[in-house]
Amino acid sequence: MLEPIKVGLESLNLITLAPMLITIVGGLIIMIIDLLNNKIHKSLYVMLTILVLFIDFGAVLGLNVNERGFFDVMLIDGISIISQLLIIGGSMIFTPLALTSKRFHEYSYPEFFALFLFMIAGFQFMVASDNLILIFVGLETASLSLYTLIALHNRSNSYEAAVKYFTMGALAAGFFAMGSAVVYALTGSVELYKVAEVLAGRMNETGLMITIFGSSVLLMVAFAFKLSLFPFHTWVPDVYEGASSPLAGYMSVVPKVAAFVVSIRIFGMYIDLGVEWVRWMILGIAVITMTLSNIMALVQNDVKRMLAYSSISHAGFIMAAMALDTSEGNTSIFLYYALFMFTNLGAFAMLWISRHKTRRFDIDYDHPYEKFAGFIKIMPMGAVVMALFMLSLAGVPPFSVFWGKIYVMQAAVNAGYVWLAVVMGLNSAIAAYYYLKLIVFMFLKDPIKDVDTIYYNLSKPLMVIIGFATFATIGAIFYVQPLLSYLYYMISASGY
């Protein structure tokens, strides 16, 4: 017979669960409020969400580094903390975009905000564990919420986007499961630290390499899908186009941060084990991704699709850094996303406020370049700010993304991959063209029509958000140092 198991609460280290619980409870509170009174304005939910996230943020900040909890399922190491901070922070700044002057469909649902919070909880679980099961469950929780959030935009395009994302996500989930199965077959464990131990002992067994490679490939497919790497990126432009701008901007940052954390855990492990092949596979995919998406972005007619391709390219950029498997490389991922986040927030917010229900400029697109023609004449500040974001994305110093970019390239150089840095440089040059294209439209062309209605959606809170994004983008030079040393400390503390 089984002995009754006694578990002390102390040993569970429940505090590790606190951040996720906060978001979940927050989501439930919103649902309950809705039950009690369903005539409430969206701004309440927005603010509630931000408040919950604020508490969450504090809770994460208070966590100690390198703790495990709950039978070692929870892992609170440096990257888990910083990635949670990024996830929460990103969510906090994207949430207020709901506060447009015009109401959009999804924001009339309190469930939207509940799902949003659940999604964040899912991401948090994903990053705060090295157990493939929890990662998988967290991933799916977040993904399923996200699919729903996209569909809630309630346009024909959003359904299409949701279906595409969902279907491909289901396929990716299959690959993830299969990959985990192979890992499990190899090591008898799905906990990565254990996996690493066992694998290290089995590296020299003959005939096993094929399975090791195969396991990495299967997992790679799942994460390449999430990270939108070639050739698993095909959903990105369509989904971004179908989703609302805030969500699209959000998708280009937060889910990727979560996926990167898991990728670091998994593929970093492979590379640490000496499976150089994985490194080369990732490098190859990364280089193809950034190049191909760049040249595809060149020919886009819609700003949002262009930004979608650009986010693919940025992801490829970062993926290359991940393949380096150095502390600097890993730091650069977070630094990059932390900086990219603000710029992206600004760019998508600018798109968001110019969004109309009907397409006024182009039958196919919401945000064709023509819409922004002659912006400088219509609203100089708006054009200047948008141009700042574009320049930042293009990597023009001293705007935020530049610092991320330079750090990534420095990491590549330090790891001995000068060619990679050169490829990155050339890619940035190609990318500059399409960012420039928008600037050209805004500054160098004459307005086409409906000049007065472009900033349809503008509201005070959005102006604040954009202002914040602008300051964060311009002033990056002043906070890069503390950010960087914090990130680097956290990452090296957790041994990556």
Binding site: V396, V413, L426, A432, K445
Partner: protein, 508 residues
């Protein structure tokens, strides 16, 4: 005022920000006042500059991102001092003579930001800071070319931006690599150029890094075969754009060679003398010939710029004080002269809305003042003694003669070919019968135009007759640079060449 360099850099930018609130009708006065103050500040810098000290002065250093070794590090030496003064001067004069009326506010503000980046490039002693200003300078220029230019302006603007951007990204990789080496040797991260100077690199590293930096700088210079953006940029840009572009932006490239390539990679520099000289020769001769084939006055001057930049490049790689000082001096001279020429072309364009030589002829009769000033600048451009153009060109050729007499003879053809295309412009535009009806009622320069050109004429003659106040500090710094290179070079060949090219036989 120890932090005068910071003031110099940020004063125009702050003024630019504040300028957003200034009323559209007063913005021109505002802009001119600001750049005039900036010019006075740069004169103050000159005044406070210790001419006898060849090293960096007015140094400011504030660590910005210590973890990456990036700091806010400014300083000026004899080489940068005058380029800064020239920058502020040309901005002032360019703005004062500006005839644009369309969207004047945006133009003025762009110029102010542009001035910040230009000054920034020349005072930055931190590689990343340098890169920052370098890249930022593209943005206002893009706007100026793209918004106020000719029919192909957008193409020209994008080409200008992307070309330079691409090159500088390669350069950035080079910078990162140097920082990496610095770190692996010393354990400290640093992007400070002065720290980098201390690095002694193996020759093959030097060569690769030299190439990386070369691509960045060569596109900006622009060296053959990377020069094709410039005819478009100049051809399409508004007058002020061309003036700034020719006077200052091109100098960034050559300045980069002096600041980075030469002291950091002395052996590679010595090794690359021949390839660079060959490219420079192609620039000098080939573009001079192309200039001769042009039909548009502005294009002639644009191509002549390339040709003159070839001379500057040649001087940089003469590896002796004569050539290097001459080269730096020639940067100033080319800045002033080509700036003035572009202004002149702009003035005639404003009157006739064409720049084609075939449209003109004999206008010296109706615009004598214009013809006179154009003639003076033309003569300075072809390097007439006692004008500013001669000193630099002569010293460069003199310096390079020690390296290769044959190449110097080929390069010397610039004094012939330059005269050929320039005199053709003069003849076809100003001489001959005044037979185009539209030209008969052209008005001569007005007061504003005259007074904006007269300072330039004065400088052209003053520095041609008495270049010492400018040349001496340059020479000081250049000598220090050369002895530093000699000390640092690791191959005997490089040492020998640097020594050899600095000694005259017999005498003294």
């Amino acid at each position: 005022m120890e932090n005068i360099l910071s003031v110099l850099v940020f004063f125009p930018a702050v003024a630019g920000l504040l300028g957003f609130v200034v009323d559209k009708n007063s913005i021109r006065t505002y802009g001119i006042t600001v750049v005039a103050i900036e010019f006075l500040l740069s004169l103050w810098l000159w005044l406070g500059f210790d001419m006898a000290n060849p090293g960096m002065q007015f140094v400011e250093m504030i660590p910005l991102i210590p973890d990456m070794g990036i700091s806010y590090y400014l300083g000026a030496d004899g080489i940068s001092l005058f380029i800064i003064v020239m920058t502020t001067l040309m901005t002032l004069i360019g703005m004062a003579s500006m005839g644009e009326t369309k969207n004047i506010k945006n133009m003025i503000l762009s110029l102010l930001f542009l001035e910040m980046t230009m000054v920034g490039v020349f005072v930055a002693l931190d590689a990343i800071l340098f890169y920052l200003f370098w890249e930022l300078s593209l943005v206002p220029m893009l706007y100026i070319v793209g918004a106020w230019g000719g029919p192909l302006r957008v193409y020209a603007a994008i080409k200008f931006f992307l070309y330079t951007f691409t090159g500088s990204l390669i350069m950035l990789v080079g910078m990162l690599f140097v920082a990496y080496i610095y770190h692996s040797l010393t354990g400290v991260w640093s992007f400070a150029i002065t720290d980098w100077y201390a690095l002694v690199l193996p020759v093959n590293y030097q060569l690769w890094l030299f190439v990386a930096f070369f691509i960045g700088f060569a596109i900006k210079v622009p060296m053959f075969p990377f020069h094709t953006w410039i005819p478009y940029a100049h051809g399409q840009a508004p007058t002020i754009g061309s003036v700034i572009l020719a006077a200052v932006l091109l100098k960034m490239g050559t300045y980069g060679f002096v600041r980075f390539s030469l002291p950091m990679f002395p052996d590679a520099s010595v090794l690359s003398i021949t390839p660079i000289a060959v490219l420079s020769l192609i620039m000098i001769i080939y573009t001079a010939m192309i200039a001769y084939a042009q039909k548009d006055i502005k294009q002639v001057i644009a191509y002549s710029s390339v040709s003159h930049m070839g001379i500057i490049m040649l001087g940089l790689f003469a590896m002796n004080a004569e050539g290097l000082s001459g080269s730096v001096f020639q940067m100033l001279s080319h800045g002033i002269v080509s700036g003035a020429l572009f202004m002149l072309v702009g003035m005639i364009y404003e009157r006739r809305h064409t720049k084609l030589m075939s449209e003109f002829g004999g206008i010296a009769a109706v615009m004598p003042k214009f013809a006179l000033i154009f003639g003076i600048m033309l003569m300075a451009s072809v390097g007439l003694p006692l004008t500013i153009g001669f000193v630099g060109e002569f010293l460069v050729l003199l310096g390079f003669y020690q390296v290769s007499p044959v190449m110097t003879i080929l390069a010397g053809t610039s004094i012939i070919l330059g005269a050929v295309y320039m005199l053709r412009v003069m003849k076809r535009t100003f001489f001959g019968p005044l037979d185009n009806e539209e030209n008969k009622k052209l008005s001569d320069l007005n007061t504003r135009e005259t007074w904006s050109l007269i300072p330039l004429v004065a400088i052209v003659i003053w520095l041609g007759v008495y270049p010492k106040p400018v040349l001496a500090p340059i020479d000081n710094s250049v000598k220090a640079l050369l002895s530093f290179m000699d000390e640092k070079a690791i191959t005997q060949e490089a040492k020998d060449l640097i020594r050899l090219s600095n000694t005259t036989k017999g005498g003294n």
